[in-house]
């Protein structure tokens, strides 16, 4: 279709002649659409060993692999978050909190390369996730 849609320009700019950079919104371009927002929490009830484990999964409801974003925080009510993947280095131990999406779930992962310094037992880790309706593949 040659001509359709909505566009809104910045204040003071003529919407009929504005360049794309001067448009607040235009249906010419799609937008990332956050379809699902949630938090996944996991309590370490023992010190995790060396290797990788899946801490949990959440179904996203799409029949394709969606794009997503995810942030990580420690403690039941985090006051500080970091965008994943997050690497934690304590002494000789490197831990990685990460996540991925397949065509069913968002999957929350934890990996550790050594267990020389006890740290995670008793801690709650939290993943704040945003699933986009837009594809990730």
């Amino acid at each position: 279709m040659a001509d359709y849609g909505i566009k809104i320009s910045k204040s003071g700019v003529d919407v009929k002649t504005a360049g794309d950079d001067d448009l607040i919104f235009t249906t010419k371009y799609s937008m990332l659409k956050i379809a699902k927002v949630g938090t996944f929490s996991y309590l370490f009830t023992s010190e995790p060993g060396v290797g990788c484990v899946t801490l949990g999964t959440v179904a996203h409801g799409f029949d394709y692999v969606p794009s997503f974003d995810c942030f990580f925080g420690i403690d039941p009510t985090p006051t500080v978050w970091r965008r994943i993947p997050v690497r934690t280095i304590i002494g000789a131990d490197t831990s990685v909190h990460s996540a991925y999406c397949n065509d069913i779930n968002i999957v929350f992962r934890f990996c550790r390369n050594a267990q020389t310094v006890p740290f995670w037992n008793g801690l709650t880790v939290n993943y704040k996730y945003y699933i986009f309706a837009d594809p990730g593949s």
Binding site: M1, Y4, G5, I6, I8, S11, D20, D21, L23, I24, F25, T27, Y29, S30, M31, L32, K33, I34, A35, K36, V37, T39, C52, G61, F62, V65, P66, S67, F68, D69, C70, F71, G73, P78, T79, V80, W81, R82, R83, I84, P85, V86, R87, T94, V96, S98, A99, Y100, C101, N102, D103, V107, C111, N113, K128, A133, D134, P135, G136, S137
Partner: protein
């Protein structure tokens, strides 16, 4: 012009009084518009992933593709190694020139400029409560050639909601973009950007790393020379693991909360 524009609230919020973070679309704010997107495979060091030719470095993000999984990039992977990510210039999205590389993935290049300051616009900072959610409301616009009445959400330009209240669609609203240079020296860190939103927002940090003599921008997390940036209810900070060469940063703060 005193009063003009368009605003759409998230489902159940009063559009006349709700907080900025409860808006879906607001013509006083900057939104992320997808300029181009696509998948790539077999892209090795230094190869061009996509050409945008915008004439400036735009905001972008990349998901790595591994078997049937998509992962956020840049990343350290489960083997604890740094994985290099495509970086963006004023013309191209280009694979890193060295290091471990994910050769396949999916990218989004947005229309908004990355390395240009954007001052925050705050209209209503006070959180309100979500009222009754109705089954069908709002506005939506489909991509060209799709019937807006039947199109899947991924084939919509935007939508103010879906019929299932628990799966409401929302858009990224940019709160601010702050750019600057980080100097070399004994202790130039952390770089702190104050937002004072009173809640913890989504934040993307980009670096043009002098460390690698790179003229291109990377979206960073725990990676290479930096620790994962922290975000709290008043500020976001980035720290370096060791003294870097001079480079540039751009911090994009969204109004969307992480908590």
């Amino acid at each position: 012009m005193g009063d003009w524009g368009l605003k759409v609230s998230q489902q159940g919020y009063d559009v006349k009084t709700c907080a900025d973070k409860e808006m879906l679309l607001h013509s006083s704010f900057k939104h992320l518009k997808i300029y181009m997107e696509g998948s790539f495979t077999g892209k090795t060091a230094g190869q061009t992933v996509a050409t945008h030719n915008l004439g400036y470095a735009p905001i972008f993000c990349v998901l790595a593709w591994n078997s049937s999984q998509s992962r956020l990039l840049p990343t350290i992977d489960e083997d604890y190694l740094n994985y290099e990510c495509p970086r963006i210039s004023s013309a191209n999205l280009i694979q890193s020139s060295s290091g471990n590389i994910r050769t396949a993935g999916y990218y989004y290049i947005f229309q908004e400029q990355l390395n240009q300051n954007y001052s925050p616009v705050s209209i209503q900072p006070t959180t309100t409560s979500q009222g009754t959610q109705v089954a069908d409301y709002g506005m939506k616009s489909s991509k060209d050639t799709y019937d807006v009445k039947t199109a899947a959400v991924k084939n919509l330009i935007m939508t103010s909601g879906r019929k299932a209240a628990s799966e409401q669609a929302k858009l990224h609203i940019i709160h601010s973009i702050t750019t600057g240079t980080y100097p070399t020296g004994s202790d130039p860190w952390p770089i702190t950007i104050t937002h004072n939103l009173g809640y913890i927002p989504m934040v993307w940090w980009f670096l043009k790393e002098g460390e690698y003599g790179d003229s291109r921008w990377a979206l960073i997390t725990s990676h290479g020379i930096v620790s994962a940036p922290t975000i709290d209810s008043t500020k976001t900070e980035i720290n370096f693991d060791f003294e870097p060469l001079p480079g540039n940063y751009a911090c994009v703060i969204f109004k969307d909360p992480t908590s």
